[in-house]
Symmetry: C2
Subunit: 377 residues, 2 copies
């Protein structure tokens, strides 16, 4: 089903609004936490459901990784158990990736047919094709699924990038043709092209020509600088239809996000806040805070006096530091709760800033406090 | 402060009622979850606070281990941060052990002065004395603290047990004398004596003569059979004053618990339900269930349709099995939530059975379903 953005307010190219899926509403700009194997690491889905931003809003979408779920417990198994929502107990929107990103990191053997790879679980060989990625994601049953694309590692020469764009387009067409679950599931196309502007435009044109339910920009946040990323993003966005959602994949640092939002991006996902949290790095308004530092051992202050999360409401920095120091799993859980809440609060701040026409101000603020965070963590 | 049991109903020697500490009420019989380093492993204290038995009651007491906390982060540090309640965010009753149980498992060098041991964290040497155990627990600031006792490994000869009883009595007196925080903290004496009935009586008499705020029976559930344990428990209980709480240390299997309750025991602690949960073994009404078994992979049933916990309310056996199979930490958390809720429900059943004069029936039921569980896990 085709998704549209109901725009409520704009500030330049930035827009605040809602996207309605067959399941429910996504307030955009949206950050989607990554629940790799069907849950956020160190957090249960019912706990994720309970997290609240300052305005009472929660996480509207959880992302899950097809690569992991197709291998464990298997897409057929998830379908047997009622699909991803019933399986995970998460009743809001879900988005699955195609599995391609993980598979391409495993040095697969790639032909026009698809990518053959060895499972990291048991070494067994599998072939991922544009059609199998669609079929697998139909079985998983997320509300939004992604096409299989070719993500070239950067830096890459123009020929490699061009070949990736062309194969991505051929695969996108096959995915579009094989998608059967169109009644309750949206299929997003993905723009590739590395940091080459012409290729980004070409890839976007080829993708838009296939008339997808929404559009993503992939292949960024893979090692390039923010100065290289943004013009490439601009080139892709110049072609994508304004009426439909635009999703920038794998980007979750505050500075890149606000910068992308100012260019018209609606959706983001990133492992950054959860991965940082598990290792004791906490997102705070003036940057980040490594809770494992010895100075925090004697602190009876919360991580943030302005944060409404359970971690800041119940525990001191000294206690969190203790939990991380002795390896109590609750430490990772509490830091994850805080970082996800901070991200949800950031989205509220972004949406409010757009509505109040002061997104540039917020961008300048974030540039000062969070410039040191890399896009993908 | 001296603690008393306000008895509401009895069934034979079994009693249901409340114990009032300076902090609040403990409904007895009570099961106390073990929060070793200041939290239940794989569970935050605010989550523990939210767990509810079928009648809406929660966990009234959390136990924490002095051995671990005195070494990490250190008792002075906990005191600086406001004591255990402020430190852990747990605002209900807390009980700390003396540290002796862990220290005696480390093959310490024991003299009449105390036990010298090597820290499992960094190999540093420490001396634990009756006085230092009291002082450390005053700094930690739990509502109930325990004396340092000598726990002999079973089986042991009569001389070894007798020496342990005598040293325990001498240490108990020193602990009693050195306890300063008597306004808001109860100090419990501990009865030793292994499985020797005369020594249990002698140890109980020596302990009661010191006029403690409450009494525990220690040194059981250390490898002996239930048939050896119960007569030893009877011998100790025959001497302990009925007006005060009686705490059976380290016992948490349902059959031993109901059996001890029928002898007049009020309080229990055990790592069993949480340790079993972390390894995927779930307590259910007809025994236990190893969620990692492959047969559960295709089950869309909850662990128990009669349980009101978040795990049974939100997730299937198939999903839990998946989380445990791929090593997602949320699996351990969800199984822990269920097992603790099951234990809380068991206490409600015990309290109700006493009030309704049918504790023997419940004991017969539990004997059929849970006889295979060892006392201490």
């Amino acid at each position: 089903m085709k998704l549209r953005v109901d725009v409520e307010a704009t500030d330049g190219a930035a827009r605040v609004g809602t996207v309605r899926t067959s399941r429910g509403i996504i307030a955009v700009p949206a950050f989607m936490p990554v629940g790799t194997r069907g849950t956020i690491r160190a957090l249960s889905t019912h706990e994720l459901s309970g997290l609240r931003a300052a305005d009472g809003s929660g996480a509207d979408v959880m992302l899950a990784n097809t690569y992991h779920l197709m291998l464990r417990p298997g897409a057929e198994r998830v379908a047997e158990l009622g699909g991803l929502h019933a399986f995970t107990g998460w009743d809001r929107n879900m988005l699955t990736d195609s599995g391609g990103y993980q598979v391409f990191s495993l040095d697969p053997s790639v032909t026009d047919e698809g990518a053959e790879f060895k499972s990291t679980y048991d070494g067994s060989r599998h072939l991922l094709t544009p059609e199998s990625a669609v079929h697998t994601q139909e079985l998983l049953g997320a509300d939004i699924q992604m096409v299989l694309d070719v993500c070239a590692a950067l830096p890459a020469g123009r020929e490699i990038l061009a070949a990736a764009v062309d194969r991505t387009a051929r695969w996108a067409e096959r995915a579009r043709m094989s998608h059967g679950r169109t009644g309750d599931q949206a299929l997003f196309g993905i723009v590739q092209g590395g940091t080459d502007h012409d290729l980004r435009v070409r890839s976007a044109e080829l993708t838009v020509a296939l008339d997808f339910d929404g559009y993503a920009v992939g292949g960024l946040s893979v090692g390039e600088t923010r100065e290289e990323m943004m013009p490439a993003l601009d080139a892709a966005l110049s072609v994508l239809p304004a009426s439909q959602p635009r999703y920038l994949m794998g980007v979750g640092d505050p500075v890149s996000m606000v910068s992308a939002v100012m260019r018209g991006v609606d959706m983001f996902d990133c492992v950054l806040p959860t991965r940082l949290g598990r290792h004791g790095t906490l997102l705070v308004d003036d940057g980040r805070l490594n809770i494992k530092r010895s100075e925090f051992a004697v602190s009876d202050e919360p991580v943030s006096t302005r944060c409404g999360c359970a971690t800041c409401g119940n525990y001191s920095r000294g206690y969190l530091r203790h939990l991380m120091a002795v390896g109590e799993p609750a430490g990772a859980t509490l830091c994850t709760i805080h970082n996800l809440t901070w991200m949800m609060d950031l989205m509220v701040r972004l949406r409010l800033a757009i509505a109040e026409q002061r997104i540039s101000e917020l961008a300048a603020e974030l540039e000062i406090s969070h410039a040191s965070l890399a896009p993908g963590g």
